[in-house]
Symmetry: C2
DNA sequence: CCTCAAGAAATTATCTATAATTTTTTTTCC
DNA sequence: GGAAAAAAAATTATAGATAATTTCTTGAGG
């Protein structure tokens, strides 16, 4: 590390700051260093946001060219997207963006309810006032959000904050994947429009947690996550149909 | 398909049978045709059975040579194992068989409880007497099993049978992955020894389902899956320690 | 005898090239 | 003009080769 070690010849305080910055940079890159994972993250982002529509073909050479890479890391990225349920692959016939329907929206909502309730139950004993304060801030951010993207980010932060203290990595990873699926549905429903709302469930959950009532918090969370919103959407041919999406 | 089409020049009945056999063969191979998936399945089998121990390095060139392949499909197989939680990869430092401890055993047990209960609730309305009979047969097979492998297979069949009618593919896939993790723990605990047992829980679940009492069945299943067995195991240096593993 | 450093071997990550398959386009025949 | 067949183009899957990194081995110094 020749470029970085030059910063080490400085006063102690500066060294600490620079050292930490470098460490964080290393962490951010080390655990996700390979081309394959960077490609898979970018593609996942596009699928979730709706920039890549359901059923769209992902052609390895095109993706490779776009990223200035060969198709070997691209294929690895595809395998990862497949495992996350964001893409489907048919041998020798290529990879497509996974499609979804109301059945799957419901399925994801129910899985989230089951797993988030489990996570919250284990998180409760480890919850600190500091964490709850940050969760409250996330709720406020969600209420003040003016577009879907920022609302989703704040909402996800809220759930992550109160669940993370469960310290069950496998469970949290599964929940993350389900959140990604939820976000896909959400963005597809509220493509451009978004009406600000006050999330009473989040506040009720926080109140229950502050009052030491973990069971009640878990019960509200379970219902909250299964809340499925209906939005009328007008398609290209001018017909309107309802799109369903998880909102919690 | 030159070899197969030759079978088509036969009487109608024979054509049907041969045609179906060919179709099934195609199905079995088409949806899992690539070298990468075959390699990942074989490696998964070895990790689950314990033939590959936790922490063991998986070297892409060695695996490639063993399968008479190049390392490109091997790397794709690695990404899949990673997503299933059977392997962990550190960029530029290779892939290792995932290790596990009591914490993870508990985590998997609780996730299975949450998700299998959810699946059963949705399966109940679609359960037929025929399915329950097959589940009963699986239970009998488990009780009569003389080794861990066959017990695990029969046990897994029982769970699959009663949960499959929920018709929630994503949920079932998650449960499958958790079963694989459970089997790892199980095989590591009961490596060679196995004491036959009668599974009263399975019979109680079936009785409740036959009696139309879905809630009771779900409650028993939830407890059943979380049953963690303790086995004293002697390691290389002669010390004994307890190994915990899911049994349900 | 142990620790640390330099060199050698092995291993990973990537790219370029090639064979096989699928999809698209063009052509032919009715 | 439209359906079927043949040819062309695109695309996937795999192999072989190369650069960069890590791990192992060996040797020097304390």
């Amino acid at each position: 590390m020749p470029a970085e070690s030059s910063t080490l010849g400085q006063p102690t305080r500066a060294l600490d700051t620079a050292g930490r910055a470098f460490y964080q940079w290393r962490m951010a890159n080390i655990q996700d260093d390979t081309l394959a994972s960077r490609i898979s993250r970018v593609l996942a982002e596009r699928i979730i946001s709706g920039a890549l529509s359901p059923g769209a073909r992902l052609r390895q050479d095109h993706v490779a060219e776009e990223f200035g890479a060969s198709h070997v890391p691209v294929r690895e990225a595809f395998r990862r997207l497949e495992a996350q349920g964001l893409a489907v692959s048919e041998p020798r016939r290529g990879v497509r963006v996974a499609s979804f329907d109301l059945r799957e929206v419901r399925e994801v909502a129910e899985m989230r309810a089951a797993l988030e309730v489990l996570a919250l139950r284990h998180a409760v004993p480890n919850l600190t006032p500091a964490v709850l304060d940050r969760a409250e801030a996330a709720t406020a951010a969600a209420d003040g959000a003016s577009d879907v993207r920022s609302w989703e980010e704040a909402n996800r932060a809220f759930h992550r904050l109160i669940l993370e203290p469960c310290a069950m990595p496998r469970l949290l990873a599964s929940i993350d994947d389900l959140h990604a699926a939820s976000a896909r549905f959400l963005f597809s429903a509220w493509r451009s429009s978004w009406q600000p709302r006050t999330d009473h469930d989040h506040r009720a959950i926080l109140a229950a947690l502050r009052g030491g009532n973990g069971d009640e918090a878990a019960a509200i969370l379970g219902r909250h996550v299964q809340w499925i919103g209906r939005t009328p959407v007008r398609n290209e041919s001018g017909e309107t149909r309802e799109i369903f999406s998880i909102v919690g």
